[in-house]
Symmetry: D5
Subunit: 94 residues, 10 copies
């Protein structure tokens, strides 16, 4: 199943910069691993913002939630989740 997730990262004033950089490195590694596994199908930066648009291809909402919860930057994110399905005018799978 496909989900679009809009992730908006808000770094609170006063956060420890070194610790945050460490979280970002772990996040990057995790994101790459999930992309290689095919779960995180697309990952785009929203131009001009600390935010991204992602497409996940997962078993169900439970697997999506587990993935999101496991992201080191999840506590700093505001997220919006949209369930997608095949469009009747799509060629191929979408």
């Amino acid at each position: 199943m496909l989900f679009m997730v809009h992730m908006d990262v808000n770094v609170p004033h006063g956060v420890d910069a070194e610790e945050f950089d460490r979280l970002k490195a772990v996040e990057k590694a995790r994101a790459e691993e999930l992309q290689r596994s095919g779960k995180w199908r697309h990952l785009w930066r929203i131009a001009g913002q600390y935010a991204n648009i992602s497409i996940f291809d997962v078993e169900d909402a439970a697997e999506l939630h587990e993935i999101m919860l496991g992201l080191p930057l999840f506590p700093f994110m505001t997220t919006e989740v949209t369930a997608l399905c095949r469009h009747p005018s799509a060629i191929g799978e979408g």
Copy 2:
């Protein structure tokens, strides 16, 4: 360049059903042609709504605008456009 477009179709009460069906058929043909050309890279239905999420791969904003304006259902749409770029954690092109 990549753009995400959220298209929400609002069919006004009293629209001529036959004419609208004809527009939808033309829209479908146009969407398939643009997908085959690679300009309309992804097209997903938002579950439970007469709306879609699309990813366009175009030269620039001008080409995106020309495509959108040429859609037969454009006069019935509310659209939101988001400019995307490569994410530093993306593998491949995103």
Copy 3:
């Protein structure tokens, strides 16, 4: 998979009352059938509004979309869809 759907029905001024009543009767029959099949697990009226909160238990977003699109009142609805999953503090299935 579970989805919560908020359906808000807007009856445009000037709609044919008899035709609308006919649609409502078909909608009621369809809703009852879907509840008996277990797909439409819960259906509650929002007090004081022509709106409902529904919980669907479907295969995936595609099945949810097909169900929604098949509702006779769908063209008159504004919908919001929320993907749900098991809560770690839930006893039983939720």
Copy 4:
């Protein structure tokens, strides 16, 4: 009487992690107890968010308020409350 409550948990930066974990454990125990009593009829996680959708079956708004106020994480929540009633197309109780 049935109420739907949307609870959105916001953990402020700088909160004591150990203390927060303790509150979560108490919250979990309280939620399970209220589910067993039948007051907290449904509890679902919103996929991808630190938020839940709950259905409460209580005497009245006063009992709902007392329950909400007694949740250890209430001070960290933004809540929306919707009063529900039986839908004319519902089979069984909804």
Copy 5:
């Protein structure tokens, strides 16, 4: 149980003025009857708007819904419903 209802009346352009006046007269009679019965405890006009703030004292949400649905102007209203309960600092019943 107490509910606050915010009713906002939108008269569509082109409505039949005589018919609308008739509905308003029926609405007025119904409102007065419900006030005398004690169900519609307070009814205030919002200054400068075709809108009101009402406090209902009903058995439960089902009774509130039945009352609202029975108002002749309900099809022209946008409503917001808020469940109220006793405030710990209130003297008397509120």
Copy 6:
């Protein structure tokens, strides 16, 4: 003159709990005194929220402002003020 005030209390993380409890006690005493004087005509808790709906009966907006400013919890509140007047369908004073 009647005003409806929606008060939403936001307790910032890190506030001194003892001091806040002291302010709440003073607030309660002040609210009771204003209710006895007839100025604060109604005070209801919004179910499930640290918020209230109040009806004030004051000379004018100046007196309302003075009352609000004198509330110990005012610095922690977000407020919305709505000027009310007699509804043509109200029996008695509203």
Copy 7:
């Protein structure tokens, strides 16, 4: 008592132009009369919009409501009303 009113005029498509011009002429005469009486203290156009910002000096909310309701264009307006009072830093009356 002073009230600020934001009036936004929405002319529906298909309105009779001649009749609307007649209403505007009556509105203008009424506005001038109310300004001369001192009730409508200020009347400014919002630049670039069919909207105005007005300051009324009236007995109370009831008088404001009666004035608003008497405006020929009231049925075409969306209004926002804000109760004002003397500012502690104002010199003169504000």
Copy 8:
């Protein structure tokens, strides 16, 4: 003085296509004339929408209003006006 204006054009269903095309032609001529005069300094299309972002260089808000009111499509527009001034980091005039 510089103003940014966001104009969003909404064509109501059922508008006379020929008449609307005529208005668009007059609008185009008027826009070109105002650009040549230097009053309408910039005019950009928002990609994917029937909307534009404009920068006006006018004497004051009165002149801006007169220009906006004179646009044949003004009755079909929703507008937002933002007053601009020189930025301390701008080189040249901005």
Copy 9:
């Protein structure tokens, strides 16, 4: 030129009370001086909120910006600025 400014003051938790009182005193003096000069033509308190509605009569947007930036409480404000002009139905200057 006339501008309406809505200033909403947000005092962050933990601000130094004495320093803030000092800023308020300077703000008051500055506001009075600007009123006497005729630049700050009206200053009203919004009843029940730490907010005001002001009308400025300045040369242009640049002068307005300079005034706003010079207010000691500016860093604590959220502001909305609306450009005003003469209303065709205004008698006198508005």
Copy 10:
């Protein structure tokens, strides 16, 4: 390609004033350099706010993102990005 960016700067309470001034000086130098290079084509202050409207002329969204990310005040900004293109009624390039 042209992008309009609305940048809104939020200085958190408790930020180090000297460090912030240093960042502002670097920001100013960077903004001037980007304007000279033609990338940052227009930069206007929004009157009465710590915010600006900017027009960027860049290769694509990737270059815009790189520029935004490189601004020293970016961590303190809320941004909105709008992709622009040539308007059919524009004379010259817009």
